[in-house]
């Protein structure tokens, strides 16, 4: 397969790699770089388990080619915490009991972060709509949605205080 060199920033680190042009971003992250936090659930953009942020936007990395990500800045679940300090959303997923088997969790959290970044403090109904592309079979979504809402509320509150 024809290969192409790409350079990109992932979790604040720069990478220059030669990659087959048919390789998906998900395969590139998981198999070439060993960043296995994003998961393959359906490989057709339906389940959202592979969600990562590309230039701040949530993307089903199973549907994007690695070469399309050339020059972009990518954030995966592995890069979300600040050292030992978890992102508020990660902490909230733990504290609110929004994690069960956890297979969908990295994708859920990345989508949740993108929602908070983009919309600030959307309503619970808006969060439901925006997270429709992340499937979960364990939690029934109740705690996931509440956790994103609660985190958005507290992040807005904290930024107001500053």
């Amino acid at each position: 397969m024809y290969k192409k060199e790409i350079s990109l920033t992932i979790n604040n680190e720069s990478y220059v790699r030669e990659v087959a042009v048919n390789r998906t971003l998900l395969e590139f992250l998981r198999e070439d770089l060993g960043l296995t936090g994003a998961k393959e659930g359906c490989n057709e953009g339906e389940c959202g388990a592979c969600t990562v942020l590309v230039d701040g936007k949530p993307v089903n990395s199973c549907l994007m080619l690695a070469v399309e990500a050339d020059g972009s800045t990518i954030l995966t679940i592995e890069g979300l915490a600040d050292g030992d300090k978890l992102h508020p959303l990660q902490q909230a997923f733990i504290d609110e009991g929004a994690v069960q088997c956890g297979f969908c969790t990295p994708g859920m959290i990345m989508t949740g972060k993108a929602i908070i970044d983009e919309y600030g403090n959307p309503s619970e109904q808006e969060i439901r709509k925006l997270m429709e592309g992340n499937l979960c079979r364990c939690t029934g979504y109740t705690r996931v949605i509440k956790t994103v809402k609660k985190t958005a509320d507290s992040m807005v509150e904290n930024s107001d205080k500053k």
Binding site: T36, E46, L80, Q100, C101, G140, T142
Partner: protein, 779 residues
């Protein structure tokens, strides 16, 4: 009154930090040195004779290291009936059945090689419909079903597609119907559906030069799979090691060996190199396992006052191309098919049937959710026939302590009446009609659902506790973590029993070589069985600690007592405290155990001793199970008569939990279970045409999303009937969580529309048709 430190507290699970940071290594995340990638050539047709298999093209692809066909691995598996080979040899029986395996350096090469495989199949007529499958002239899925070895409790019917015919006979059903003032007869069916865990099936296998097999697999029940493989391959159990990383959802779907035998078949031909076989989502739908479809014929007779006097059912379970554990699903559903109502005369005939479709297996409840839907529709039909309130007729017949089950046994620890009352109260049953039209022109309905289920018995499990000199403990067991939270509730029990902080307790990855024997992770059994074993293992640890502290204190072993909260107290011969004490979390500081005899606690729990073998013809017994589960749901739905769409407004879920050891974990199970139950009722359905699966992908097979689940869920954990044999009185919750949701939602739809729900999932077109009829009738 409870006086626990850790039990009954909503403790947070221990594995969350790894899960929210992407650090958890699921099976798919594990890469081994020298690992090859496997791919599978699968049957494109549902039924046919294999005429030829040509793999020469596959060998020509660069990077191919092994190609395996059915004749290379002619090993038989099957828990009930050994009807399945690792790969199809002479015949294919379902679309997606594996025929050829390839291992290559890269997955791309493996897929390329699979594309080069040529298999010539003479297609046979597919057995697509379960009712046609039992007709005399039906084509046969298995020509000689009776020739396969099978367990003695399963009774295949020669020359038919019937894997098993289950029978239950209680009382005299003819006499019962003769006494009835009203008889309702209906038929109901449930579609085939998929567990759809977000993690697909997969396995990585390695075969050492000595022949020892190691498998990494998200297997729910690794010892069960080990047993199957050991028998199939003729390899002793200590030469098969199954390592189970955290599992990305199971729900029964990860019970059967699916990818394990394929990875092993390849690894037997790769000279020691490990082989990873990952199912794509499409493969998972086709060749994972499914919840069987079912067709119920139900007949219920009652007196004018609502007392049910007889119940009869014949039912047909569309269990697919191989039998797996399906006969047990048929059995479990038939035992409780009259519902948690005391009925003197019962006759059921359950047929577990072969078709050329996906393989039926257990799904969260072993047929009980389906059975609950059917028996609750019957209760609504009876209520209507008698002009009674649906709650009243249920209450009239509901089981209580001392009631006789369908098996003839006398029940104890029965909290279903309280649950039904709680569910009814929660939905405001008394205050509203069962159906009304909103100002916006939508139709609202309320419904009730109850269930009862038993846990598989006899059963066994075991726990070991390694107690370290620094006062921390490592707890080992082989119940797998599927997301249900066994990894927090067992440490809670050990913390409570040993009086050491929860954070000092860790658990071990399940591994058949290193963690102790356990039957299975199914049947909502973990807290009850493993919890009891953990209490015994803790007692063993305490005994050993007391012995060493006695040695250090220079006193007799029986003069050191372990007190609640983790205090060791020395007493004199009269039993009076001497004043010398030690705390469990300070043993090391006080030099009481370090460099002493290593402490390893062991506890086991098994239920053979309480189990009475049922009579195979009547299924009557003194005691069938270690534990019965009960619960009730109430639901309110809103139907849009213009679109036929049903929205669930509220579900009240009341569960006879005995004692909630971790209420947070219980609530998580129920929230997820209710939503899964809603999906089962309104969305999920495999659509087959002539044995071909038409919607085997995540776009067309719909499971609930966050948009489908904006439902008010009110949960009530009923603790009025603790189980006398359960740890702290606890019963299970995993399957119960969803067993009555389908029935309650279907009941609500029935009440809204005024017509019985005869098929789940309930499709918008069915609802539109019912609305149209109702409009015509009202004209």
């Amino acid at each position: 009154m409870d006086n626990y430190n850790v039990i009954g507290k909503p403790e947070l699970r221990k594995d969350s930090r790894d899960k929210v940071t992407g650090a958890t290594q699921y099976c798919c995340d594990i890469t081994l040195t020298g690992m090859l990638h496997g791919a599978v050539y699968r049957s494109k047709v549902p039924h046919g004779k294999i005429q030829s298999v040509d793999v020469s093209g596959a060998w020509e692809v660069e990077g191919v290291r092994a190609v395996v066909t059915g004749k290379d691995v002619p090993y038989r598996i099957g828990r009930s009936i050994q009807d399945q080979t690792f790969l199809a040899i002479d015949k294919v029986r379902y679309q997606g059945e594996p025929i050829v395996l390839v291992a290559a350096d890269t997955l791309e090469q493996a897929y390329e090689a699979v594309r080069k495989v040529k298999v010539d199949i003479e297609q046979l007529p597919a057995v697509n419909d379960v009712l046609e499958a039992v007709e005399e002239n039906s084509p046969l899925v298995h020509e000689k079903l009776e020739e396969y070895p099978h367990i003695p409790t399963v009774r295949p019917v020669n020359g038919t597609n019937i894997y098993d015919h289950f029978t239950l006979r209680k009382g005299d059903v003819e006499k019962g119907f003769a006494e009835a003032d009203v008889i309702v007869e209906n038929e109901y069916e449930c579609a085939i559906l998929h567990h759809a865990a977000i993690e697909n099936h997969m396995a990585t296998a390695k075969v050492d030069a000595s022949g020892k097999i190691t498998v990494w697999s998200p297997a729910q029940s690794p010892f069960y799979i080990r047993g199957e493989l050991s028998r199939a391959l003729g390899i002793p159990e200590n030469k098969i090691r199954i390592i189970v990383p955290p599992i990305g959802g199971g729900f029964g779907g990860k019970l059967e060996p699916r990818a394990e035998q394929l990875a092993i078949a390849l690894a037997m031909h790769t000279k020691g190199r490990p082989v990873k076989v990952m199912f794509s989502r499409e493969e998972d739908f086709l060749a994972g396992t499914v919840r069987a479809g079912v067709h119920f014929k139900m007949k219920t007779g009652a007196k004018k006052d609502g007392t049910i006097v007889a119940f009869e059912s014949t039912n047909y379970w569309d269990s697919g191309a191989y039998s797996t554990i399906s006969p047990t699903v048929t059995l479990k559903a038939n035992v409780i098919l009259a519902g948690p109502y005391e009925v003197k005369n019962i006759k059921t005939d359950g047929y577990c049937v072969a078709t050329n479709k996906q393989l039926g297996t257990a799904q969260r409840g072993f047929g009980v959710a389906e059975a609950s839907y059917a028996h609750e529709q019957q209760m609504d039909a009876l209520a209507k026939a008698l002009g009674m309130d649906p709650l009243e007729i249920r209450m009239k017949n509901i089981m209580v302590d001392g009631s006789k089950a369908s098996t003839g046994e006398t029940l104890f620890s029965v909290g279903v009446k309280e649950c039904l009352q709680e569910a009814a109260d929660g939905i405001g049953w008394k205050d509203h009609p069962i159906s009304w039209i909103t100002k916006e022109g939508k139709i609202r309905g309320r419904g009730l659902g109850t269930f009862m289920k038993f846990t598989g018995t006899p059963s066994y499990t075991s726990v070991t506790i390694k107690f370290n000199f620094d006062g921390t403990a490592i707890v080992s067991y082989s119940t797998t973590e599927l997301g249900q939270g066994v990894g927090i509730v067992i440490p809670q029990i050990v913390s409570e029993e040993l009086g050491i902080p929860l954070e000092n307790i860790s658990t071990v990855q399940v591994d058949t070589e290193n963690t102790p024997l356990d039957k299975t992770t199914t049947s909502s059994r973990a807290t009850f069985h493993l919890g009891n074993a953990a209490i015994k293992a803790s007692a063993d640890v305490k005994r050993q600690i007391c012995k060493w502290v006695a040695f250090k204190w220079n006193t007799e072993e029986n003069l050191v007592k372990f007190e609640k909260g983790g205090i060791l107290v020395e007493v004199d011969a009269e039993g009076t405290p001497t004043g010398r004490t030690a705390r469990m979390d300070q043993l090391d500081e006080n030099s009481l155990i370090r460099n002493g005899e290593p402490i390893l606690g062991y506890g086991s729990y098994e239920t053979t001793n309480i189990w009475h073998k049922p009579d195979l013809e009547t299924y009557q017994t003194e005691r069938l199970t270690a534990m019965w589960f009960f619960g009730a749901n109430a639901a309110e739905v809103e139907i849009d008569p213009d679109t036929g769409k049903t929205k669930v407004i509220k579900v009240v879920a009341a569960h006879d939990i005995g004692k909630a050891l971790n209420p947070l974990g219980c609530l998580q199970q129920v929230e997820g279970g209710v939503v899964m139950g809603i999906g089962n009722t309104l969305l999920e359905e495999f659509i087959h045409r002539d044995g071909y699966l038409m919607n085997g992908n995540m776009v067309d097979f719909k499971i609930p999303t966050s948009m489908d689940t904006d439902v008010e869920i009110e949960m009530r954990l009923v603790e009025s009937s603790p189980h006398p044999e359960g740890p702290y009185g606890a019963k299970g919750i995993g399957e119960p969580a969803m067993c009555a949701t389908q029935s309650a939602v279907a009941s609500a739809v029935e009440h809204a529309l005024g017509v019985p729900v005869t098929h789940v999932p309930i499709k918008p077109e069915t609802i539109l048709e019912a609305c149209r009829k109702r409009m015509e009738e009202s004209k």
